[in-house]
């Protein structure tokens, strides 16, 4: 927004025939060809409104800086990374932490006004709501210094020479702050008359979550050191490497990561890696990975995010309201309950960065602060499905998304299907009812107690009325979720892959004065899989073995192959399945950011 209050001064300042300082005139975007230079007004804040990474005071598209649209509006970063290795986010101090940190600052400039009258003074300030949220630095040959956001006083000499500035945000957008900042410069004469003013709008880049169809870079998982777990790690690594990523075991026995002397192998639940980005020179998207720590109760293993992930171009955030478990279900706070529906279009609505998928219910809910925080980013509206019927309560217990061949979307929803599992067992029972499942496996005794054999047969499962009852109920809840996903995403049956396994139910006190049946995978939940490209690592289902072949595994291999997907099964029984989790629960993935530029989405 540029207003020349004293036309005479503006003209004298050299705006020539271009009508500098006048925001009327031809639309600078009518012609897609090269822009004609346009002299800036005398009082001018220059920001990278045309998003090409360069400050261009004479560019008409750069001068369109008074709003944030799909085509214009400057961007700056929440400086959530740690470029100087002090294990603090760079936004937590008032210095620029080296050359790398300087790259995280978006530039703005008070354009030199060579003919600023003697005695003129200026005040540069940020809008009141944003003042505590952002930090401005003055960049000068003698050094970079923080300046007050509530008012930087400028002398005539400053106005004549121009001022170079950098801006960072201390946070991403919040429910109480939309992340849009108005920077305003007001210049007055020695006598106190206003000589001109200018303002520019900038928006802090959002925190964006990644869907599982994005290319993987690194897959993290706990190293529990024992032989059985090392075998699991090797199996996971096979899939990770096939998917083009690097496996990164976490030393889970590090004292600072243990709780009561025990490791915490639920790596998925501790944090999620997303990213933020802004345009830099050449219009290139500069990406900063950002790890979002889960809003769970203190879990030392989650410190990995701040201890080992936080670093250069790797930010860290931990939004949460309260540690009071009465306000939310702490299990639902885990990030196995936070997924992303890959990009899609439905009618006139387009979601090029996908939509966040979260689980909650009427009686059990995760920390609503996180949900509000994610909604505040504006680019990935949240879809909720009911997961309160599940013991753990996570979306990854019933759905996953995999890049596939064979449908227009390029990805499919994989969904748990007790119905298909039962059908397969019934078909197999016709001639092989005695076939065994879970051979050699035992249920949990928490490592030191008794082993409870798990082996059973197809006939025994199909004759277990309680188990069948529970699975028919589970199927109802899954069908409810599918109704929502079909409605919100426009999925057709062709976009859905049924993944057969059975749940079991157990009775719990509900913490609210009653008791409730909650469900957990009985046959290893193969939908709860690590997705790395078109390779997946599902848990070995240890399904019925007929003629030497696990029919559940064989089914998945055959059906996945038709979709161009290769499963690499991992034995997750001892350390995950019988402790209420599977492979996805035990892994976490750093992915390449999509090429989609969030600032072009109009959200």
């Amino acid at each position: 927004m540029k207003r020349a209050l004293l036309t005479l001064v503006v003209v004298v300042a050299g705006c020539g025939g271009s009508g500098g300082g006048d925001d009327t005139g031809p639309d600078p975007f009518q012609d897609a060809g090269p822009e004609k230079p346009k002299d800036p007004p005398a009082v001018d804040i220059v920001v990278d409104a045309n998003r090409n990474g360069v400050l261009e005071p004479t560019s008409p598209s750069e001068q369109a800086d008074d709003s944030f649209t799909t085509t214009s509006g400057a961007i700056f970063l929440a400086n959530a990374d740690d470029d100087d290795g002090d294990k603090k986010r760079d936004s937590e101090d008032e210095i620029v932490n080296g050359a790398d940190d300087e790259l995280d600052l978006a530039r703005l400039q008070i354009h030199p006004w060579a003919k600023a009258p003697e005695g003129a003074t200026g005040v540069l300030k940020v809008d009141t709501a944003s003042q505590p949220r952002v930090r401005l630095f003055r960049i000068a040959p003698e050094g970079t210094t923080v300046v007050p956001t509530e008012g930087l006083a400028l002398a005539a000499a400053d106005l004549r020479a121009g001022v170079e500035l950098g801006i960072e945000s201390k946070s991403f957008a919040l429910p109480t702050w939309n992340g849009e900042v108005t920077v305003e410069l007001v210049v007055t004469s020695a006598a106190g008359a206003e000589l001109g003013r200018d303002s520019a709008v900038m928006r802090v880049a959002p925190f964006i979550l990644q869907s599982d169809v994005q290319a993987p870079r690194t897959v993290y998982f706990a190293d529990l050191r024992d032989t059985g777990h090392r075998r699991f790690q090797a199996q996971v690594t096979e899939g990770v490497v096939a998917g083009g990523a690097v496996a990164r075991p976490i030393d889970s026995f590090k004292t600072e990561y243990t709780q009561r002397g025990q490791p915490d192998q639920w790596t998925q639940d501790h944090w999620t890696i997303g990213y933020t980005s802004m345009p830099v020179a050449g219009g290139v998207q500069r990406v900063m990975d950002v790890v979002l720590r889960a809003a769970t109760e203190p879990r030392p293993a989650a410190d990995f995010a701040s201890v080992e992930l936080l670093g250069h171009d790797f930010g860290y955030i931990h939004p949460r309201a309260t540690d009071d478990p009465q306000t939310h279900d702490v299990s639902m706070d885990s990030h196995g309950n936070l997924d992303v529906v890959p990009p899609y279009t439905l009618g006139t609505a387009s979601y090029p960065l996908g939509r966040i998928l979260a689980g909650e219910g009427e009686f059990r809910k995760p920390d609503q602060t996180l949900k509000a925080y994610l909604e505040a980013q504006r680019v990935q509206p949240v879809i909720n499905i009911n997961t309160e019927w599940l013991e753990v309560g996570h979306v990854d217990e019933m759905v996953s998304f995999v890049r596939t061949n064979g449908n227009a979307r390029g990805w499919k929803l994989f969904v748990a299907s007790p119905k298909l599992a039962r059908q397969m067992l019934m078909t197999a029972a016709a001639s092989n009812g005695g076939a065994t499942l879970f051979e050699g496996k035992s249920w949990v005794d928490f490592r030191t107690g008794r082993e409870i054999p798990a082996m059973t047969t197809i006939d025994a499962i199909l004759a277990d009325a309680d188990l069948m009852q529970a699975n028919q109920e589970a199927q109802q809840w899954i069908d409810d979720a599918l109704v929502i996903l079909k409605r919100e995403v426009g999925l057709t049956d062709d976009d859905i892959v049924e993944v057969p396994f059975l749940y079991k139910s157990e009775q719990f006190g509900d913490g609210q004065g009653g008791s409730v049946s909650l469900y957990i995978a009985y046959i290893p939940g193969t939908v709860n899989q690590l997705v790395v490209g078109q390779h997946t690592v599902p848990p070995d289902p240890f399904g019925p073995v007929i003629n030497g072949q696990d029919i559940f595994k064989a089914d998945l291999v055959a059906r996945y192959a038709a979709l161009g997907v290769t499963p690499h099964f991992a034995d997750a029984w001892d350390d995950y399945h019988r402790l209420s989790g599977e492979v996805h629960c035990g892994t976490n993935t750093l992915r390449d950011a999509p090429t989609t530029r969030w600032w072009e989405l109009g959200k």
Partner: protein, 288 residues
């Protein structure tokens, strides 16, 4: 999964909180939901004799129960849900767990020591549920007192009702009338759903037609009908040879009719959770 109304839950939660705090101070008393003194003399005597005989015949079963660890933080904090849960271990005890678990319900779980309110709740729910699932009539007296004794926390009432339902016990009948309040009635309705007999559908039908139900009661009745007429469970029983196909089909049909009456009774005032419970039940009794 359906739940009682929020108001009822708040009341119950208050009660549970009070009892939970008190319970946390019990040394070696966790799991105790009643005492032999609450039982009728004959039942108390049978209990005492049963426990003594079992201890002599199978002392290992008592030791195994004492070794259960699912309520201990060092155990359940390793699980993904991080909730105390005894179900897998207690199920693993099998039938030999009956007398040790009845003893724990009347004397407290040996070795438990001081536990948190959540852990105590898990012990109580775990023991009651595991005992109920054994379907052994010798547990009825303890379950009945657990269900009906004044001042019991809601989770005890609700879980004991499921066990009584497994036994097709008449101890639920009084609560079905609503005279013990909507919470106990809901618990009893769910309990009836555990008694897989045609007569259970009649009991529910009678209850539905006898009075006006609260939303929570409609939810509970719908769940129960879904269980009784659920095609997968009935097919399982046919597969197991414990029910004839014709009887299974008749139960499905009867449950469907009872559900129609329940849907009519619920009318348009039903809450979201009630509508969902009715929809789930309808799907279950309609499935082939």
């Amino acid at each position: 999964m359906t739940k009682p109304s929020k108001l009822m839950m708040m009341k119950s939660a208050t009660l549970a909180l009070c009892l939970g705090v008190a319970g946390a101070a019990w040394a070696d008393g966790a799991g105790q939901v009643t005492t032999p003194a609450d039982l009728a003399p004959a039942a108390a005597r049978s209990l005492k004799e049963g426990i003594a005989a079992a201890r002599k015949a199978d002392p290992g079963a008592f030791a195994a129960l004492a070794a259960v660890r699912g309520y201990r933080p060092e155990a359940y904090m390793t699980t993904r849900a991080r909730k105390p849960n005894l179900a897998p271990e207690l199920a693993g005890l099998g039938k030999r767990g009956l007398w040790p678990m009845l003893e724990a319900l009347t004397e407290g779980l040996p070795g438990a020591g001081a536990v948190s309110a959540a852990e105590q709740q898990a012990i109580e729910v775990g023991l009651l549920d595991a005992v109920g699932k054994l379907g052994d009539a010798r547990a009825e007296a303890v379950l009945a007192v657990a269900f009906s004794k004044a001042g019991q926390p809601g989770h005890v009432v609700a879980t004991a009702a499921l066990g009584l339902g497994r036994l097709c016990s008449g101890e639920l009948d009084a609560a079905l009338t609503g005279k013990r309040g909507a919470f106990a009635a809901s618990a009893a309705l769910r309990g009836v759903g555990e008694c897989r007999r045609p007569a259970s559908i009649d009991r529910l039908t009678t209850a539905v037609s006898s009075r006006s139900f609260s939303d929570a009661e409609v939810q509970a009745a719908a769940e129960a009908l879904g269980k009784l007429g659920g095609s997968w469970a009935l097919d399982a029983e046919v597969a197991a040879g414990t029910r004839l196909r014709a009887e299974a089909d008749a139960m499905k049909a009867a449950a469907g009719q009872a559900l129609t009456a329940l849907e009519r009774a619920a009318g348009r005032r039903a809450a979201t959770a009630t509508v969902r419970a009715l929809r789930h039940a309808r799907a279950m009794v309609s499935a082939k």
